[in-house]
C-alpha cells in the first residue's frame, strides 16, 4: 500500500519535477559550468579558469549596475511597502465601492510589463508627455523624468511601485483580515489612539506578511529588467543600468555566456546576503 502511495506521489509530482529539472536545475548547473568557460553560444566552449571573475572585479559597469539596483531598491521597497500597507488598511475598512477599488489597484499587476512600460514611457516623455503637459498647464516647468541622471531611477521606481503595489496590497489585506477584532476592541477600552493601535497591534500581528513582502520586493527589485530595457536602455549615463539588464546584454547582445553566467551567480550571492541580513534585522526587531 505504502509503495503504491509513494509511486502515486511521484507520478503526481512528476510534471513539476520534470519542469523543475528542465527549466531550473539544468540551467543552474549549466550556468555554474559556464562560469569557467568562454562561450558564444554557437562556437566551441573554451576553458578560461577564473578569468571571468577577474574580468568581473575589474569591470566598472557591473559595479555601477549593482549600485544602481541598490538605489532602485532603496526608493522602491519603502515606497511599495508603505503604499501597499496604506491601501490595504483603507480597503480593509467598510468604504463604498471597496471591491471595485481592490480590483482597480490590482489591475496593473496582471497587465503585461512591457505594455505598462511603453505607456509610462510616453507619459514621462519630456517634450510631449502627459505628465509634463499637466505640470506646465499649472505653471511648473518641464521635468526630465527619464533623461536626467537624478530623475531617471526614481521615475522607474515610481512606475514599478504603481505596477506591483496591488499584489502586496492583497497580501497585506489578507494579513489584516487575520488580526482578531477583539484585540482592537480591548485597545479601544484601554483608550488607545488609532496610531497606537496600528503600531502596537497591527504591525506586530502582520509581521510575517511584512517579512514576506520585504523579501519578495527585494528579490523582485534585484530582477529589475523590463523597465530600464524599454524605457531608458540603461541611460542616461548608465544611471538606470540594472544588473539584470547588464547581464542580459553580456549574454544576449555580446554573446559572452560565460561572463554573463558569472555575473548571474554574483547577483544570486548578493541577493542571498541581502535577504539574510534583512531577515536578521527584522527578526531581531521583532
Amino acid at each position: 500500500m505504502n509503495r503504491k502511495l509513494s509511486l502515486m506521489g511521484y507520478l503526481m509530482s512528476a510534471p513539476y519535477i520534470i519542469y523543475f529539472i528542465i527549466f531550473s536545475a539544468f540551467p543552474i548547473f549549466f550556468s555554474f559550468f559556464l562560469i569557467f568557460h568562454r562561450w558564444n553560444i554557437v562556437g566551441p566552449m573554451k576553458w578560461v579558469g577564473l578569468a571571468n571573475f577577474n574580468m568581473m572585479f575589474s569591470d566598472p559597469l557591473f559595479w555601477t549596475s549593482i549600485y544602481n539596483t541598490i538605489i532602485f531598491l532603496l526608493i522602491h521597497i519603502p515606497l511599495q511597502v508603505v503604499v501597499a500597507l496604506v491601501l490595504a488598511e483603507v480597503l480593509n475598512q467598510k468604504i463604498k465601492a471597496r471591491a471595485f477599488f481592490r480590483a482597480a489597484f490590482f489591475m496593473p499587476v496582471v497587465v503585461s510589463g512591457v505594455v505598462v512600460t511603453i505607456l509610462w514611457k510616453q507619459l514621462y516623455s519630456t517634450d510631449t508627455g502627459l505628465l509634463n503637459n499637466l505640470l506646465m498647464a499649472i505653471g511648473f516647468g518641464k521635468v526630465e523624468w527619464l533623461t536626467s541622471t537624478a530623475m531617471a531611477m526614481p521615475s522607474i521606481a515610481l512606475m514599478a511601485t504603481w505596477k506591483n503595489v496591488g499584489l502586496y496590497m492583497i497580501l497585506f489585506l489578507a494579513g489584516l483580515q487575520s488580526v482578531p477584532a477583539y484585540m482592537y476592541e480591548a485597545a479601544d477600552i484601554d483608550g488607545a489612539t488609532t496610531l497606537q493601535k496600528f503600531r502596537y497591534i497591527t504591525i506586530p500581528a502582520i509581521n510575517p506578511v511584512i517579512i514576506m513582502v520585504l523579501i519578495l520586493s527585494t528579490i523582485g527589485g534585484f530582477s529589475l529588467f523590463i523597465e530600464p530595457y524599454v524605457m531608458t536602455g540603461g541611460g542616461p549615463l548608465n544611471s538606470t543600468l540594472s544588473t539584470v539588464l547588464y547581464i542580459y546584454r553580456q549574454g544576449f547582445s555580446f554573446y559572452k555566456m560565460g561572463y554573463a553566467a558569472t555575473l548571474g551567480f554574483m547577483l544570486a550571492a548578493i541577493i542571498f546576503v541581502v535577504v539574510l541580513i534583512q531577515r536578521k534585522l527584522i527578526e531581531q526587531d521583532d
Binding site: I22, F23, S24, P27, I28, S31, N40, I41, V42, G43, I118, K121, Q122, Y124, S125, T126, D127, T128, G129, E144, L146, T147, T149, F222, S223, F225, M231, T232, G233, G234, G235, P236, L237, N238, V244, I247, Y248, R249, G251, F252, S253, F254, Y255, A260, G264, L267
Partner: protein, 432 residues
C-alpha cells in the same frame, strides 16, 4: 530574471524545433528546401510570391517558406537556431555585422564553391566593394541582396517659412536653419519645434542611424576599424560628436524618449534620418505630406555625392542543409532581375545590383517613384560595416560615449571619442 532569459532562449529553441520539424519528413524521403525571410508583412508577401513561382517551376523540389520566428531580434533567433541546429536551408535577412560569428561557428556554406557565384557577385556589386562582403578568412559566405541607404528627409511645407532655397550641405548651414526654427514664435500656429529627432537610447544599434552614417559621410567612407585596429580616433569623428552635441546643447533637437510618436508625420521636426522603407510608410500614413530627400550634411559641406550607411542585408545558405546545390539554385532565383523588381514593387527596398537606375526593368519604376530614386542613386555610395565579431560591443561603447559627450555633455566630444577609442582598443586586445 536570468533564468527567465535562459527560459526564453529555450522557448525560442523549442519554437524553432516546431518551425523546422522537417527532419522526419526529409528522413521519409521528401525533398524540399526551407526558407526564412524577414518577419515584416511586406517581405512575407514578397517571399510567398517568389516561392509560389519557384514551386511551379520546380515541383520536384519545392520551397517551404516560414518568416523568421518572433524573438527579440532576428540575429538572436538565428543564433538560437544555429545552437539548436534548426536553421533553415536559406535565410535572406542577414545583417553582415553578424556574419563573422556565423562563419566562426561553421554555420554557413562557403558560396565560393557554388557554380557561377563569382560572376553573380560581380554582376550585383562593383568590384571595388566586393571585398567588403568577404569574411576574414578571405572566403565568401553571403550574397548581398538589398541595401537601405540612410538619408535625410525634409518637410517641404516649411521651406518658404524658413527661407530654405537649397538643402543644407554643411553642419553650419544645417544649424543655421535650426536656429531659425528656435526663434520662431510659439504662437505661430505651426507645430514645428525642432530640426530633427534621434532616439537617444544608449543601445548599440541606434548609433547605426546617427553617429555611424555621419562618420561615413564626413570621413569619405571610413568605417570604425582598419586592418582590425581602431580607425575612428580622429578629428572627423570628433566633429561628428560636436555636431550632435551642439544640437542637444542648444535645444535644436529634442531629448525626449519617444515610444509611439512620429514627430516627422506630426510635422514637429523639419527633418528625419530615414531609409527607403520610409517611402511606403509615408505614402500610407501621411499621403498629403510634402517632402524631399537630401544627403547627410558634412562638416565642410564639400561638393560631390555624399556617402552614407547602407544598412545592407544578405542571403546565406546554412550548413545543415542536405541540399546545398539546390539551395544555391533557389538563391540565384531569388535575386533574378524579375524578383528584384518585385522586391522594389512590394517592399520599396533596393536590390543591390549594378545598373539599377539604367536597366529597363527598374527604370520605369524609379520614374514613377522619384522619392525612391534618390535612395537608389545613393546605393553605390553606401558603406556597410566592419568584419569583426565584436561589432555590437564596439557600437555599444560608442553609444555610451555618445550619451556622455553629446546628449548629456559630461565630457567634451574630443574626450568622448578618445575614451571610446581607448575602450575599443582594450576590447580588441583583451580578447586577442
Amino acid at each position: 530574471m536570468r533564468y527567465k532569459v535562459l527560459l526564453s532562449f529555450f522557448l525560442i529553441a523549442i519554437q524553432l524545433q516546431f518551425v523546422s520539424c522537417s527532419g522526419n519528413e526529409r528522413e521519409r524521403g521528401e525533398k524540399y528546401l526551407t526558407y526564412w525571410p524577414a518577419a515584416n508583412q511586406q517581405e512575407i508577401d514578397l517571399a510567398k510570391k517568389i516561392v509560389e513561382k519557384w514551386n511551379v517551376i520546380h515541383p520536384e523540389f519545392p520551397v517551404r517558406m516560414e518568416p523568421i520566428p518572433s524573438g527579440q531580434s532576428s540575429e538572436e533567433v538565428l543564433l538560437a537556431a544555429i545552437a539548436g541546429k534548426t536553421t533553415p536551408d536559406i535565410c535572406s535577412n542577414i545583417w553582415p555585422g553578424v556574419m563573422e560569428q556565423y562563419v566562426e561557428a561553421g554555420a554557413v556554406v562557403n558560396l565560393d564553391t557554388m557554380p557561377g557565384f563569382d560572376s553573380l557577385l560581380t554582376a550585383r556589386i562593383p568590384e571595388t566593394v566586393v571585398k567588403g562582403y568577404s569574411s576574414s578568412d578571405g572566403k565568401y559566405y553571403q550574397l548581398p541582396w538589398k541595401s537601405n541607404p540612410v538619408l535625410f528627409i525634409y518637410n517641404r511645407r516649411y521651406f518658404d517659412v524658413l527661407g530654405i532655397d537649397s538643402l543644407p550641405k554643411s553642419y553650419s548651414e544645417f544649424y543655421e536653419i535650426a536656429q531659425r526654427i528656435k526663434e520662431m514664435p510659439i504662437d505661430d500656429g505651426l507645430p514645428l519645434q525642432w530640426i530633427h529627432y534621434r532616439n537617444i537610447l544608449p543601445i548599440w544599434w541606434q548609433r547605426l542611424f546617427d553617429f555611424y552614417p555621419f562618420y561615413i559621410a564626413a570621413s569619405g567612407g571610413k568605417t570604425l576599424l582598419k586592418d582590425g585596429k581602431v580607425d575612428f580616433d580622429n578629428d572627423t569623428a570628433v566633429k561628428v560628436f560636436e555636431f550632435f552635441a551642439e544640437g542637444y546643447e542648444k535645444g535644436y533637437v529634442s531629448k525626449s524618449l519617444l515610444q509611439m510618436e512620429d514627430l516627422f508625420i506630426k510635422e514637429k521636426v523639419l527633418a528625419d534620418i530615414v531609409g527607403p522603407w520610409r517611402v511606403s510608410h509615408l505614402a500610407k500614413f501621411a499621403p498629403d505630406l510634402k517632402y524631399t530627400y537630401g544627403p547627410l550634411p558634412r562638416p565642410g559641406g564639400s561638393e560631390g555625392p555624399g556617402l552614407s550607411y547602407a544598412d545592407p542585408k544578405s542571403i546565406v545558405i546554412f550548413n545543415n542543409t542536405p541540399y546545398p546545390k539546390m539551395a544555391w539554385e533557389f538563391v540565384k532565383f531569388l535575386v533574378s532581375e524579375e524578383n528584384d523588381r518585385m522586391l522594389l514593387d512590394m517592399t520599396a527596398q533596393l536590390p543591390i545590383r549594378s545598373g539599377l537606375l539604367e536597366k529597363a526593368t527598374f527604370k520605369e519604376y524609379f520614374e514613377a517613384n522619384p522619392g525612391l530614386k534618390v535612395f537608389a542613386e545613393q546605393v553605390p555610395y553606401a558603406i556597410g560595416v566592419d568584419r569583426t565579431i565584436y561589432l555590437q560591443e564596439i557600437f555599444d561603447i560608442i553609444s555610451q560615449e555618445f550619451d556622455a559627450a553629446c546628449v548629456h555633455r559630461v565630457k567634451t566630444p574630443k574626450e568622448g571619442i578618445s575614451d571610446a577609442a581607448k575602450r575599443v582598443r582594450l576590447l580588441l586586445e583583451r580578447d586577442r
